[in-house]
Symmetry: C2
Subunit: 363 residues, 2 copies
C-alpha cells in the first residue's frame, strides 16, 4: 500500500503513454483530470494486488470512445458516483476498490480521478498491460469472464446497464450507445472479486508504468548512451531508427487506421520500415520482414527524448526510435492470440514473440 500524489502521477502518465503503443489516447488530458481530483480530494491509496482480499469487490473504471472527444467534452464531477451507485445497486454490494482496466493511454489516469473523488483505493493491476482498441480485448476474456453487467454514463446523466451473451456483443452495443452519446462515455465493466483479479489481471502494471516513465525521464543520466540506458531500463528490443517519409490515415468504423513509412538512419541507413496501426500499432516491418506484431507492444518514441509518440503525433520528417516490448504472458496463450493476435486484425501471419522476431527467427 502506498500513496499516489501529484509527483508520482507524472511518471505513471509518461509510462502509460509508452504502454499505449501508439493508441489508448494521450494520457495528458487524463492526467489533468486526475491531477485536478487529487488536488481537490487528496492522494490516492494504491494497493498491491496481494493486499486485496479474495472476496473483495473490485471495479474497473474507464472511458470508452474517442480520447480526442474526451479532451473537448471533458468529464463532469458526477460520472464516477453515478457509475458506482448503479453497479452497487445492481450487485447489491459495496465496492471495495477500483482498478484500471487499460494501463496504456488515457485510461491509466481516469481511475485515479475516480479513486480520489470517491475516496476508494485503487489496485495496482489492469486487464491488458497495454492499450487495445476493443472492449473484449482484456485478460479476463481469456478466462471466460463476462464484461457485463457493464454500467455506462455520459456527462449529461444518461445511463445504461448492459448484460450481454458475449464480450463481443458488449463491444457492439456499448459502442453504439457511446457514438449516440457524442463519442465518449465513462464505464464500469469486468467487475471481479479479489481472487479473480489476482488470478487473471496484469499485476503491478501501475508500478511498471511509473518505472517506464522514470526510464524515459532519466535516460540521459545513466552510465551508457541515452538510447542504451532507455532500452535497458524499459527492457525494450530495438527494432528501427529513422525518419518518417510518409504517413497515411483513414478513419473507418470509429477506429484510426493508418500506415507510417520510415527511412533508416545510423545502423539502419539505406533500410526502410513501416508500421501499421488500428488505434494501436499492430505490425512493424523492416526491409519487408516483420519484426514485431500485436500483442507485443510496438512503441514509437522520439529518437532524442524517448517521449512516446501516439499515432496522431506522427508527421513527415519526425525522427523516431521503434522499440518492441514483450506483452503480458497470458496474451501469448492460444486464447490470447485468438483474441488479439495478428490474424484477428487481418494479418496473414502467425504470432511470433518479439524477442524471436528481432533475431530474424520466423518459425
Amino acid at each position: 500500500m502506498r500513496k499516489i500524489g501529484i509527483h508520482e502521477l507524472e511518471d505513471i502518465a509518461l509510462g502509460a503513454s509508452l504502454l499505449g503503443s501508439g493508441g489508448g489516447g494521450d494520457p495528458y488530458v487524463g492526467k489533468l483530470i486526475a491531477l485536478g481530483a487529487i488536488k481537490e480530494c487528496g492522494p490516492v491509496t494504491l494497493l498491491d494486488p496481494d493486499e486485496v482480499k479474495d472476496d473483495a469487490f473490485v471495479v474497473p473504471i474507464a472511458m470508452m470512445g474517442a480520447p480526442t472527444v474526451l479532451s473537448e467534452k471533458g468529464i463532469g464531477g458526477e460520472e464516477y458516483a453515478v457509475l458506482t451507485d448503479m453497479i452497487s445497486r445492481y450487485y447489491n454490494r459495496k465496492i471495495d476498490a477500483l482498478m484500471p482496466i487499460e494501463a496504456g493511454g488515457v485510461n491509466s489516469m481516469l481511475p485515479f480521478a475516480a479513486a480520489a473523488r470517491l475516496g476508494l483505493p485503487l489496485v495496482d493491476v489492469d486487464g491488458m498491460g497495454r492499450a487495445f482498441p476493443e472492449l473484449q480485448m482484456v485478460t479476463f476474456t481469456i478466462a471466460g469472464i463476462s464484461a457485463t453487467p457493464m454500467a455506462l454514463t455520459d456527462e449529461k446523466g444518461n445511463c445504461a446497464i448492459f448484460k450481454t451473451i458475449t464480450n463481443k456483443w458488449t463491444e457492439e452495443l456499448a459502442r453504439a450507445v457511446t457514438m449516440s452519446c457524442g463519442g465518449s462515455v465513462s464505464v464500469i465493466l469486468y467487475c471481479v472479486d479479489g481472487k479473480t483479479m489476482k488470478n487473471y489481471g496484469v499485476k503491478r502494471i501501475v508500478t511498471r508504468s511509473e518505472k517506464l516513465g522514470k526510464a524515459i525521464r532519466e535516460a540521459k543520466h545513466g552510465r551508457l548512451s541515452p538510447e542504451e540506458n532507455f532500452l535497458a531500463s524499459c527492457e525494450g528490443y530495438k527494432i528501427f531508427r529513422g525518419k518518417i517519409t510518409d504517413i497515411r490515415r483513414e478513419v473507418r468504423g470509429a477506429f484510426n487506421f493508418g500506415k507510417a513509412i520510415f527511412e533508416g538512419s545510423g545502423e539502419y541507413k539505406d533500410e526502410s520500415a513501416f508500421v501499421e496501426f488500428q488505434n494501436e500499432n499492430l505490425v512493424v516491418s523492416v526491409e519487408g520482414e516483420i519484426r514485431a506484431t500485436t500483442p507485443d507492444l510496438i512503441c514509437l518514441v522520439d529518437a532524442e527524448t524517448f517521449i512516446p509518440l501516439p499515432t496522431d503525433a506522427l508527421k513527415y520528417g519526425k525522427r523516431v526510435l521503434i522499440v518492441g516490448l514483450q506483452c503480458y504472458a497470458a496474451w501469448r496463450s492460444a486464447k490470447g492470440i485468438e483474441l488479439v493476435g495478428p490474424r484477428y486484425f487481418g494479418y496473414n501471419t502467425d504470432y511470433i514473440p518479439v524477442e524471436r522476431r528481432v533475431k530474424g527467427e520466423v518459425l
Copy 2:
C-alpha cells in the same frame, strides 16, 4: 374483467391495423405470435383500467424497431420473462399487470403473447390510442413521466436497462442498440403505477380496437351502404375515395418516408389527393387543401373490403377510401401538439382537428 381468447384476438388485430394509421407494422405477425401463446398457455385476462388498484405496478411491453425485421427474426420464448425479471429486479417490485403502450399495429398483439406466457393480466389501456414512430410519443410524456428505467432484450439474450435525462434521449440510445441488435428488440418502458395509468393512459383502447375490427368485418351487413355502415360504426370522417396513381418511398434514418398520390372516383371524380407518411400517415391533402394532419388518424382502407392498408401495401392502381378518425383528446393539448403535431414532423401548418378540416374550416 373478461377473457381474451383466439376468437376475440381476430377483431382486435383487425381494429389495431386501422389504429396503426398506415404504420405500426402489420399486426398479422404479432397476431400469430399472440395466437401461439394463447393456444399454448390459455386465454388472457383483460382488466378494465378502473379494476386496477392505484398502487399496482403496471408494465407496458412492446417491440421496438422495424416490424418487417420482426417477421423474419421472430420472438423467442424467453424475452418476456427476461424483461420482466430485469424490471422487477431494478424496481425491487412484483409486476401486477401488463399493458400495451401502442394499440395500433403489431404492438397491439405482442402484449397478449407476453400476458399469456407470463400468466399476468393485461390492462385495457395504451399510451397512444394509435401508432406513432418514436418512443417519446406517448401520452405519459405529456404528463412528464419518464420512459426510463427501460429494459430491452433481443432474441439472443443481450439485455440493457436505460435511464436517461429525457424521453428523446431514450429514443436516441435505445434506437442505436436496436439497430445493433439487428433491427428489432423487445422492450419494457414507461412503467407506471395504477393511478398514473388511469390518469394519463388511453382507456379501453383494446375494446375500441375490437369494435373497429367488428365494424370492418360487418360493414356489408348493416342497414346502410357498406361504406356508410363502416363510417358510422368507426366514427370516421370520409376524406377521399380514389385510386393510387403514384407512390414514392424513401428509407431515411430507419424510418419509411413516402408520398402516395390519388385520382378521385365517384363524388371525387376529377379531384386529386395525396398522403404523406413517416411510418404512419401524417398529412392528407385534397385539391391542394389539407384535410387532416397528425395526431388525428389518417386511415387508408381498401375501398371494397375496408381492410386497412399499411403504407407498404400501397400500390399503383389500388382503390382506396381515406378516412379520418379523431385522436385521443390529450393529443390536442398544446403539449400534445408539440410532441406529435404537424410541425414536429416538418409541416408548416397548425393543427386543426379533423372534424373541422373536413368541413373546410382552416382557422
